[in-house]
């Protein structure tokens, strides 16, 4: 043994072993890279194709689209699998179902998760996950504005999931006007002009009772200063967009606005 130790010392093998260990650790970190690392996601979730049958069952119990047999159209494209993994929620990729396809060809998928269901579309303008409770009480809705995935900076989009038995789904705008909301496969995706009265509520009936949920559209979308990638390039060409990273800007504290980073 002492000869071995001596040999190791003479030949720097301890260094080699250390390096090997570092390499192995690096490899493990590389291939087990966290898919999202916020405190919340660290606490409870990791992307996986293996979600417990019980948790999937809870979402399926509310959503007929997840109970139907899979077809060839339901396979989630790889880029959408990657996008879902960034949200840091355990999802059952094999349980994905294509809920609807918009007239523009945007496919909306619902994917069972460990806590409910995730919604994602092939434009990737919408990607979010909802708890089973959120689906049940109408909070499974999301909005998107200022996204390169949208047709222009004056378009907002809402998307969401409605439970089985939700009849006559309707969008109610800020001025009280009502508009039928098309729902397919328990999902919806609709676009609106940001200058028109904004969608504020979604209403449907369930077992004869009206159910109303808020539409999560920020009230300041009209005044929001949105840019698209093409507009950014034009601004940069005119020298109006600083490229260098410097000190953060002053933080206004008025009203409910964001800090205009």
């Amino acid at each position: 043994m002492s000869r071995l130790r001596s040999w190791l010392r003479n030949h720097n093998v301890s260094l080699a072993l250390f390096v090997l260990g570092v390499a192995l650790a690096g490899g493990v970190l590389t291939f087990a890279k966290p898919l999202a690392t916020s405190e919340a996601t660290r606490a409870s979730v990791r992307a996986s194709s293996a979600v417990s049958a019980g948790s999937v069952g809870r979402a399926s119990a509310l959503l007929e689209v997840l109970r139907r047999s899979a077809t060839g159209h339901d396979a989630l494209p790889p880029q959408l699998q990657s996008a879902l993994s960034r949200l840091g929620v355990e999802v059952d990729i094999t349980g994905a179902r294509r809920a609807l396809v918009t007239p523009q060809g945007n496919a909306v998928y619902l994917v069972p998760s460990n806590s409910g269901v995730c919604l994602i579309d092939s434009n990737n303008s919408e990607s979010g996950c909802f708890s089973t409770e959120a689906v049940r009480d109408g909070r499974a809705t999301q909005s998107d504005d200022c996204s390169p995935s949208l047709p222009d900076a004056n378009t907002i989009e809402i998307a969401g999931v409605l439970p089985d038995g939700a009849a006559d789904p309707t969008i109610i705008r800020a001025d009280g006007t009502r508009q039928a909301l098309k729902v397919d496969g328990n999902a919806y995706l609709a676009q609106f002009g940001s200058y028109a009265p904004l969608p504020t509520r979604i209403e449907w009936t369930s077992l004869g009772h009206a159910v109303t949920a808020s539409a999560p559209v920020p009230s300041d979308v009209v005044s929001e200063d949105c840019v698209t990638p093409a507009e950014v390039k034009a601004l940069e060409a005119s020298g109006k967009v600083p490229r260098a990273l410097g000190h953060p800007p002053a933080q206004p504290t008025v009203s409910t606005v964001y800090a205009k980073g």
Partner: protein
């Protein structure tokens, strides 16, 4: 396996090369896994976490900004082109809400962003934000 005792200098060369490669792999992997977690506090209703005492946001180079509330209440991820006050991505929902592919072209083109997370409910809620680099694909 035997080592070439007769020529220690020769066998040390591959070890040194392996060392450099291994350290590069380790450092690269650590970099890839790094996320800038921010906020992580209770935020009053209708307020950006950046506007709260003790609150925070993330300035830098990233292509993902995710906002979440462990209770699943409404949050918004709001990402600006750094230093301009112009929005390049905003998603609101019953969490977690991510920027999708919105930021990848900006990142790939070397533009800095400012990632924020906000409470768009009328009541206080805990909000966690995370800005990180996921990929360099610009689609």
């Amino acid at each position: 396996m035997t080592f070439p005792h007769h020529s220690p200098a020769l066998w040390r060369v591959p070890v040194m090369v392996a060392s450099i490669v291994a350290l590069c792999v380790a450092l690269a992997s650590l970099g890839a896994a790094t996320a800038n977690a921010y906020c992580g506090i209770w935020v009053p209703g209708n307020t950006d976490c950046a506007n709260v005492a003790g609150g925070s946001w993330a300035d830098g180079y990233f292509d993902q900004n995710v906002a979440s509330d462990p209770n699943g209440w409404l949050v918004c991820q709001h990402t600006y082109l750094y230093g301009t006050g112009t929005t390049v991505s905003r998603h609101c929902g019953a969490t977690p809400e991510g920027a999708g592919w919105d930021l990848m072209c900006y990142y790939a083109e070397g533009r800095a962003s400012s990632g924020h997370a906000g409470n768009d409910n009328s009541f206080s809620q805990p909000i966690y934000g995370s800005a990180y680099i996921e990929t360099v694909h610009c689609v």
